[in-house]
Amino acid sequence: MRRLIVLVVCLAMLLGLAATTGSAAAAKTKLVWQVHWSDFQVEGVYSGEGANRKLVSKGLRQYVEEYMKLHPDVEIEIQSVPMEEYLQKVLVARSSGVAPDLYGVYSLWGVQLTQNGILDTPPDAVVKDVRGNYTPVSVAGTTIGGKIWGIPMEVGNYCLVYNKELLKAKGFNAPPKTWSELVDMASKLTVRDKSGVITQYGFAFLAGWESAVVHPYLGLLWDLGGDFLSPDFRKCVVNSPEGVQALEAELQLFKTGGTDPAGSVWSFPQGKVAMMIMASWYEQSLKQGLGDKYDKVVGVAPVPYIKKPVNAGYTWFLAVDSASKNKKAAWDFLMWFSADVQKPKSTTRLGDLMVETIGGLPCREIDLANHPDTLNDLYTRTFVEQLKNSRPEPNVAQGAEVKTILANEIVEAWHGRKSAKQALDDAAIKINEILSEFY
């Protein structure tokens, strides 16, 4: 009997404790943040093992914990999903009524998310802060229908990455500045075996997903003064003379033997690619692939141009779900994370995370200016400099579908299955059909 009483008392205490904890938890404002970052970007970078384990650079979790310490009434949960599944997860979560509160949105998805009422309208203070403190390319990327929909998080652009040793071996002391120099150098840097198979590519195109194919092409198109879509998004004008000339400029590399469709940029670390147009996020992979040879091998220059230097840019921005029950808390947290300037560096937490751990280009001007050690390095410096020549891809409805169509047609031309004109005419017809549904 005594044992039974003790058991009942213990159970009652446990229940009481659980109820207290439950009510305390219920009193907290909970925010769920869905991110597309990998483990080390979320958890931070550590060195050493066991007791010697030390945090080298903070991940998102450390910043979130800092905020929760400062605001004990707020609890933030991080949900990490792979980038390629990000949009699907948003859709599924929304359909099942358990949508996250905070998102990192690729600007191209933004149009559909805003048109369908998924994203919350940012408070005036956020809009004012974005307009006043961020790089023009990232502000443009976050603008949909003339309205800012979030806080720019990461900006990406493209540069020419070249193998200094391979160029030097062929007598080139500097990278190409113009597109015709690129075409000329690429054919001279290409090496074939006896059977005609390329063993060293003078130039390799980035490929494998839509942005990889389309972004460098858009850069050339804009360089020539052409455009992809009309300003009101009612018409695809990619098959203009400038558009055809831009694609023919790419095809020159195939015709003069500077590349072929089997060329892969991922062979660059093995010394099998002399030049490629690459994005800003490839630095860490190059460092890992090249090891000690990294400094000797890697050179970065602006993308060679035909008339004027332009390169395509893209933006990720932080946004809040319109169905969130804690929208104010979500925006407050995002402002603390992205706009609260820290001493002595005069940088933001988002900027620090982006530069020191994620390896991306920050969007806020002070973050670009006040991370000299990292952003002035061999690889990133040129990308930062070229932000002034970066133009954001258009935030158009069905952006992913439109881009896939253009990418598929460009690849058809690369393979010699269609002329540049035919490929772009076919792309324009299909894209116009999609645009007519939405504009």
């Binding site: 063993t199 490929a207 494998g208 072929d260 469709p261 060329g263």
Partner: protein, 310 residues
């Protein structure tokens, strides 16, 4: 009705209900995981739904999704063509090869070891298979071109040439699936009584006549089984093509039009283009294609095939 008849009826009803009660877990399972999803897909195929708004708010478009796919979407028709080539090619070429190997293995020593070797790719994850073959297919340093060089044939761009890319991937699919087919054929071959071959030999039949008039007819049930199950699987091909030719390939730029198959098309339509209505319509057209091909196979192999199962 007499009391006896009423009692007998009650007893029958009770037994029927009891039967259904025992079946109910399976019925509920099929209802929840098969019938309802299929019904929902059919419903969605008549709507314009992007998954960003509740389904109830989506627009009813009638047969427009089906008409669009069949008359205006060039890529869908290319995907249908590629899928038919991929499915029939991998299944029938794979079966022909597997039958030859199975017959050979009945006559060699260490057959168990060779069957194990042949079965290994079946249990290898397709990601690993794609990585290995991606390396073998590299134009400059891959083994495939090295072998062509040895026999003085020109090198190929296995995954970057639009004319051969699909066939290169089909070769991998045949390689990775042959082990399972060999095992089934071996069982089928062992089930053919020797008396038929003995009688044929007495009648003066040669090896080809034995194969054509005894082996193949007697294997019809096995061929039917492998054809139907193989085709159903092959229509849904996705992983190898996605990894080798679409999703960030390491072997250059594969021409999407030359390799796109229906499952890949449906994935892109649903989750990249956010056109779930069109994707569901495409899925139902795929279902009709699978059904039609299954009927054709059943019809062709009916004699000695379906009847053998009855």
């Amino acid at each position: 009705m007499s009391p006896g008849a009423i009692s007998a009826r009650r007893s029958l009803l009770k037994r029927t209900l009891t039967g259904y009660l025992f079946l109910s877990p399976a019925l509920v399972f099929y209802l929840v995981f098969l019938v309802i999803p299929i019904g929902m897909s059919l419903y969605i195929s008549f709507r314009d739904w992007n998954m960003l708004v509740p389904l109830a708010n989506s627009r009813f478009v009638g047969l427009r999704n089906y008409i669009y796919l069949l008359t205006r979407d060039e890529l869908f028709l290319i995907a249908v063509k590629n899928t038919i080539i991929y499915a029939t090619g991998t299944v029938f070429a794979g079966m022909a090869l597997a039958l030859g190997v199975a017959m050979l293995l009945l006559k060699v020593r260490g057959a168990t070891f060779w069957r194990f070797v042949m079965f290994a790719p079946v249990v290898t994850p397709s990601v690993a298979v794609a990585r290995i073959w991606g390396g073998l297919y590299r134009p400059a340093e891959g083994l495939a071109n090295a072998m062509l060089k040895m026999v003085h044939l020109p090198p190929q761009q296995w995954l970057a040439d639009p004319d051969i890319c699909l066939y290169s991937i089909m070769l991998i699919a045949v390689w990775s699936g042959i082990g399972a087919t060999v095992i089934v054929f071996t069982a089928g071959l062992k089930g053919i009584p020797d008396v038929y071959y003995d009688a044929a030999k007495l009648d003066g039949a040669g090896p080809w006549a034995e194969f054509a008039h005894i082996t193949v007819p007697m294997l019809k049930p096995t061929i039917l089984f492998l054809s139907v199950t193989g085709l159903i699987g092959a229509w849904q091909a996705f992983d190898l093509i996605f990894m080798l030719a679409v999703g960030g390939t390491e072997s250059g730029t594969s021409p999407v039009r030359s390799v796109i198959v229906l499952a890949l098309y449906l994935y892109q339509m649903a989750f990249k283009n956010l056109r779930m209505g069109r994707a569901c319509a495409g899925a139902f057209l795929l279902f009709l294609i699978v059904l039609a091909f299954s009927f054709i196979v059943l019809r062709v192999l009916r004699k000695g095939g379906v009847e053998s199962y009855e």
